[in-house]
């Protein structure tokens, strides 16, 4: 067991994957000597060399496009997109090529590419550095989409994603990079990559979250408990595929559900959850599934981000509102 930050857990996970498989490559802007702007790849170039840890030219479409080519040649590239808002120049390669090549080749081609994206707000950054673009990717068939929320999962999920024969979009909660936990780096006894986890059991309301919002929901659950309300918090971990079993089991018991994410509510991932839960748990629901998230406006200047991001109060408010029906 060692105490690791989420960022360091990712670093250790990448290191393990590179040690275990010489085909694993790391590529992106500033990932080499600098170790990435968040230091997630710190020390990897020093230990594995410039051939395996590539400081690429500054071009996201180029990075993902060449990662596809490397994968076609048998490599397993792990791409770092420096910030969420800079994945869009690569959107064409991801959506049009990466996601669809297996089907186009009748299964003859595999693209085991992982695209790591630090996501979410709350760090006081300038524009394009605080976005939550997951819905664009969950909407694209052919991509697996996961989001870690804590160091233990970060360590496991990055290795599981690299091992996946399919392309994986891997979201990292950037404002949680410095959160610490005990991680057993010698064990590989992990929950399946695409499973959700109940991170706090409860009775009255199911709260669904992923990535950076999980911690906020856990805090909300503690606050609710003081007022005698018991929230069950589920960390979805995987957005596509979704572990709907774990979700419905909980909602069928509580009869109430609140979904929390930083992305705008309108057409966000929560819309899919609400629809699916309504179908699966219709007769057990005591109230509609409520969503808490960003507004239908672009991510604001950082002095307003605390208002835009779902916080404890807005989550508690939604939990309360599920009792109004």
């Amino acid at each position: 067991m060692s105490t690791l930050t989420l960022g360091k857990a990712l670093n250790e996970g990448l290191r393990k994957a590179m040690e275990n498989d010489p085909k694993v490559l790391v590529m992106g802007e500033d990932v080499g000597k600098l170790g990435g702007v968040f230091r997630i790849t710190d020390g990897l170039q020093k230990d594995f060399g410039e051939e395996r840890v590539i400081d690429t030219p500054l071009a996201e479409s180029g990075i993902v496009g060449t990662a596809i080519g490397l994968a076609l040649r048998g490599y397993r590239p792990v791409v770092e997109i420096q910030f969420d808002g800079f994945v869009f120049p690569a959107a064409d390669q991801i959506i049009t090529q990466l996601a669809k090549m297996r089907m186009r080749s009748l299964g003859k081609l595999s693209l085991p590419v992982v695209i790591r994206i630090p996501c979410g707000g709350g760090i006081g950054a300038v524009e394009h550095h605080s976005e939550s673009p997951e819905a664009y990717f969950t909407h694209t068939a052919g991509l697996r989409v996961v989001a870690c929320s804590n160091p233990v999962d970060a360590f496991a999920m990055i290795q599981q994603s690299i091992a996946s024969p399919d392309p994986v979009i891997f979201f990292e909660p950037k404002r949680r990079y410095w959160e610490k936990a005990e991680v057993d780096t010698d064990s590989a006894d992990w929950a399946p990559l695409h499973s959700a986890q109940v991170v706090r059991p409860g009775e009255h309301v199911t709260v669904l979250a992923y990535g950076p919002a999980v911690k906020t929901c856990l805090e909300a659950a503690s606050a609710a408990a003081e007022e005698g309300r018991s929230l069950e918090v589920i960390d979805l971990r995987s957005l596509n595929p979704l572990d709907i079993e774990t979700v419905t089991k909980s909602v069928n018991r509580t009869g109430r559900c609140v979904v929390v994410h930083e992305a705008p509510v309108f057409n966000g991932y929560g819309a899919e959850l609400a629809a699916r839960i309504t179908e699966k748990c219709f007769y057990r629901l005591e109230s509609p599934v409520l969503r808490v998230g960003g507004f239908s406006a672009p991510y604001p200047p950082s002095r307003n981000e605390d208002h835009y991001l779902p916080d404890l109060d807005r989550i508690l408010d939604a939990a309360d509102r599920t009792f109004a029906w």
Binding site: L34, P57, V126, H128, F295, R303
Partner: protein, 381 residues
């Protein structure tokens, strides 16, 4: 072609060494260039000097304010003052500039309030000035995007039929060495070339894209890329304000008279960190920074003024005083800059009404108000 020649290292064989257009040496000696005659009065030079000193001071002040927690971040222009003031002062009122996030010197030339720039980095706004009023577009953070906008704008100027007339205009697109790898920038070169658009591509090659040295982006000097796209490219000493002014003036004039695009590579150096969150000691040597200190863009103008008796001690003192006063106002203005109203988030998202967003806005307003309700007999819900 060796890698060294990309950076113009001094040991490059003479033949391979790219030509660097220079009108003022680092020692402050005026040199002539047959293609770039430049006639500056003593007052012109003193004005340029004042500009350089002031933008450096704005920059230093912003870095200090970031350290004090007043700004979230700052992208310093330290070392690039001449490239920005030289090119910025070459623009006329009709021209339109498309900056990155580092063009504070050009912003100054276009009369954008420094405090407004600080507001962006403080997190009060995403921009906030009127691009039309200033002939200066908003800062673009996504690398390279603005080069296409500048090209399209130039295509518009073309279609207005003003080229060659007194109301002729051109655009200037600013970008870095790293940006030259982006698809957008290369596409902008293609569009500008095939349409012969009135645009100047002004690349500040400051040798670094965060931690990545120039070699990660190119194996030939950047200005030479223009040839492949079908328009002229040239390299200018980016720390020489005279040369930057002369070269940009000429390129803009060519554009305004219908002679199409030019790529200017201003060869300079990012003296500071990439931004205030960056630590350059992790990836570059102090010795490199020290060698560029000798080419300081401000010192050489000062040396020229002194050497030619164009300014006395009183002048330099006065410039310092002006800069100090400006820094003081900036500091105070920044500290007292109010946060935006929470509901401002919903402003300017759409021109026409959008009932669904308005509903969200009203719900949020009611939610905020619920915290302010005076305590009554009834318990707050």
């Amino acid at each position: 072609m060796t890698i060294d020649s990309v950076r113009g290292a001094p040991d490059t064989p003479e033949l391979d060494r790219p030509e660097l257009i220079q009108l003022l040496t680092p020692e402050g000696e005026r040199v002539e260039h047959p293609d770039y005659p430049l006639d500056l009065s003593a007052e012109d030079v003193r004005d340029l000097y004042r500009d350089l000193v002031i933008v450096r001071r704005i920059d230093l002040e912003a870095v200090a304010l970031t350290r004090q927690g007043e700004l979230g971040l700052w992208a310093s222009l330290l070392g690039q003052e001449a490239a920005q003031i030289g090119s910025g002062r070459a623009l006329n009122d009709h021209d339109m500039a498309f900056p990155t996030y580092r063009e504070h010197g050009v912003a100054y030339c276009r009369n954008v309030e420094p405090l407004t720039l600080l507001g962006l980095f403080r997190g009060v706004s995403h921009g906030g000035w009127d691009p039309k009023e200033h002939g200066f577009h908003l800062y673009t953070v996504v690398i390279g995007s603005q080069t296409l906008h500048a090209t399209g704008y130039a295509m518009g100027i073309q279609r207005d039929g003003v080229l060659g007339t007194p109301s002729a205009a051109a655009t200037i697109a600013y970008f870095g060495d790293g940006a030259t790898s982006q698809g957008d920038v290369n596409e902008a070169f293609v569009f500008a070339s095939v349409s012969n658009a009135p645009i100047v591509f002004f690349c500040q090659n400051n040798q670094w894209a965060i931690s990545e040295p120039l070699e990660r982006q190119t194996r030939i000097p950047l200005y030479k890329r223009a040839q492949g796209f079908g328009f002229p490219g040239l390299r200018v000493d980016g720390n020489d304000v005279f040369a930057c002014l002369a070269v940009t003036r000429k390129a803009l004039e060519n554009a305004r008279t219908g002679q199409g695009p030019t790529l200017i590579e201003a060869f300079t150096y990012r003296m500071g960190a990439h931004t205030t969150t960056d630590d350059p000691t992790r990836y570059r040597l102090k010795a490199e920074e020290e060698s560029w200190k000798l080419k300081d863009p401000i010192e050489r103008v000062k040396a020229y003024l002194v050497r030619n008796d164009l300014a006395d001690a009183g002048f330099f003192e006065k410039v310092e005083d002006v800069a100090t006063q400006m820094a003081k106002e900036l500091r105070e203005g920044c500290r007292s800059m109010p946060d935006p109203e929470p509901l401002a988030m919903f402003e300017n998202v759409y021109a026409d009404e959008h009932p669904m967003m308005t509903e969200e806005q009203e719900q949020f307003a009611a939610y905020l108000a619920s915290f302010e309700e005076p305590a009554s007999g009834e318990e707050a819900k």
